[in-house]
Symmetry: C2
Subunit: 315 residues, 2 copies
């Protein structure tokens, strides 16, 4: 493990070298990009501006939460509302890779416009080592097209600056703690947001269902952790499946979708273990999900697969 | 609860009244139709013939197991091989109700041919009370189109004889035990077989996957029951989902299907509870399924929903 003061000093020096004028920072509210934004703030002061995009695919309360974190961290930031643009970009798209490409392209177009507004061509991103390793570094196959890697087209006016590209997740967490930001212990949240937790078509209605289900999983898991019934997971979330099955609602039958719940332990996201969540906690998640999304979701499944062979997220 | 000797005497009398000549019995190897076949054998002797259809949608080893049960029960029976006919009937069908209609129609055509061969128009079926109650008896909505209810078209030459139509599942089990058949403690298996456990297109390849997954669930659950780690479930099985997700195989990524595992307690199938299967048992099921179906299935989910709001089977 690196020495934090040395790493931060190094990163600040490199950021100043790579950014002669101003820069914008792609800030998702996740730990990686928040650390990148903090380093940019440290290196560039008012020459850096964090841009938080509300793409309509965020978790319940996410915009407010991120505003709070950023204010507490004394970051200079702006919130850009762009839900319509992202839903249009995703209209009719089912293929996971195509979803990521569309979202990546929408992000790039949006950041290009913001960069122009801010008079710069530098985009600071929180890319970390597993992102580019899994995206086809070296001789590996491409595990996943990360929306924040390789998404910059050749003709773009933007130049990427990636201060965390040599770090692994646990190292980023350590740096975050060293910098004293409250996001240090936040669970990872994918850049494409709930879009990768909505398998099949991404519509406002289906994103709403995934949002409700994710909020329930977060609340119940956090309650169980607080009550000492469960260790703190690496990541915990819900995925909306397009598979319909039969349910019973009163005397009527309904055809509803299914929700898959994922709660994993991990050190660096390269491998992960599905946790032994107590039956009572899963029962409460199932009961709340099928009640709060009555008639829309009739079945709740718990993902018992480790990584490998499954990845943590579905897409 | 009825008196078993009285019920059997009554049923034999009614069968003799309703079947003046010969009859065939639709015998799936499940408990309901086996009890119906035993009653027909008792009432009609060699005038009855049980017909077991190998529709290509059976569980691993099912044909051999059913032959053995029927021989042990001293039933007169025939096995009809018809996998090609059923796969043709299901070609391109995805809708669950349409699957059941196609399978029901294929059964009827096959039984009509068998009835003609046996010189009769009487078809004895093991319909029980929840089948017709859930299929739209009284003012209820149709919960499910049971392949063995209402599937006889108006122009058919067949007349249905249903000796168990007033019984619930626990009563059928009791009668089976009274008759001394080894199927008394078998878990229920749906008439349409693995077709309703293959969500989406029913191809020989996908049925093979569902067959492997079901065999693993049965073996591991039975092992856990024998080891005292789990009470005896009402029903336990695997469902193949068409939903693909990302997996990791060595250094490569794969897109595989998912398997949902269902293990429920119930008294009469009208309500059911998802059981608290030990984490180690689920881990073994996940490990074996993703290994024995390597690259085809990358994710295993445990269904934690009770009935209601979900049904026991998915379709």
């Amino acid at each position: 493990m690196i020495d934090h003061a040395t790493f931060v000093g190094e990163a600040v020096r490199r950021l100043r070298a790579e950014v002669p004028g101003t820069a914008i920072v792609a800030a998702s509210g996740g730990i990686d990009s928040t650390v990148a934004a903090l380093l940019a703030e440290k290196a560039l002061g008012e020459r850096a501006r964090a841009i938080f995009v509300d793409h309509g695919l965020l978790r319940a309360g996410e915009v407010e939460r991120v505003r709070e974190y950023f204010r507490a961290s004394e970051l200079r930031f702006e919130v850009v509302s762009a839900a319509d643009r992202f839903f249009s970009a995703l209209d009719g798209v089912v293929d996971p890779e195509e979803k990521r490409r569309r979202i990546g392209a929408a992000f790039i177009r949006l950041f290009e416009a913001e960069a122009e507004r801010f008079g710069t061509d530098r985009l600071v991103q929180g890319t970390i080592a597993p992102d580019w390793i899994e995206s086809g570094g070296a001789l590996r196959d491409t595990i996943k097209t990360h929306h924040n890697v390789g998404g910059i087209p050749a003709d773009s006016r933007l130049t990427l600056v990636e201060p965390l590209r040599d770090l692994y997740k646990d190292e980023v967490r350590a740096v975050a703690r060293y910098l004293g930001t409250p996001v240090a212990d936040r669970q990872p949240f994918p850049g494409p947001g709930l879009a990768v937790r909505v398998i099949g078509p991404v519509t406002p209605d289906r994103v709403r269902r995934a949002r409700v289900a994710n909020a329930i999983v977060e609340e119940e898991v956090e309650r169980a952790v607080a009550a000492g019934q469960l260790g703190r997971p690496w990541q915990y979330f819900a995925v909306l499946l397009p598979t319909r099955s039969v349910g019973v609602l009163g005397d009527n039958r309904v055809h509803g979708e299914a929700v898959s719940v994922r709660v994993v332990e991990s050190v660096d996201a390269m491998t992960a273990t599905a946790m032994a969540v107590p039956r009572a906690v899963l029962a409460r998640i199932a009961e709340r999900t099928t009640r709060e999304l009555s008639g829309e979701v009739v079945r709740v499944l718990y993902d018992v697969t480790d990584k490998p062979p499954a990845t943590i997220e579905w897409e």
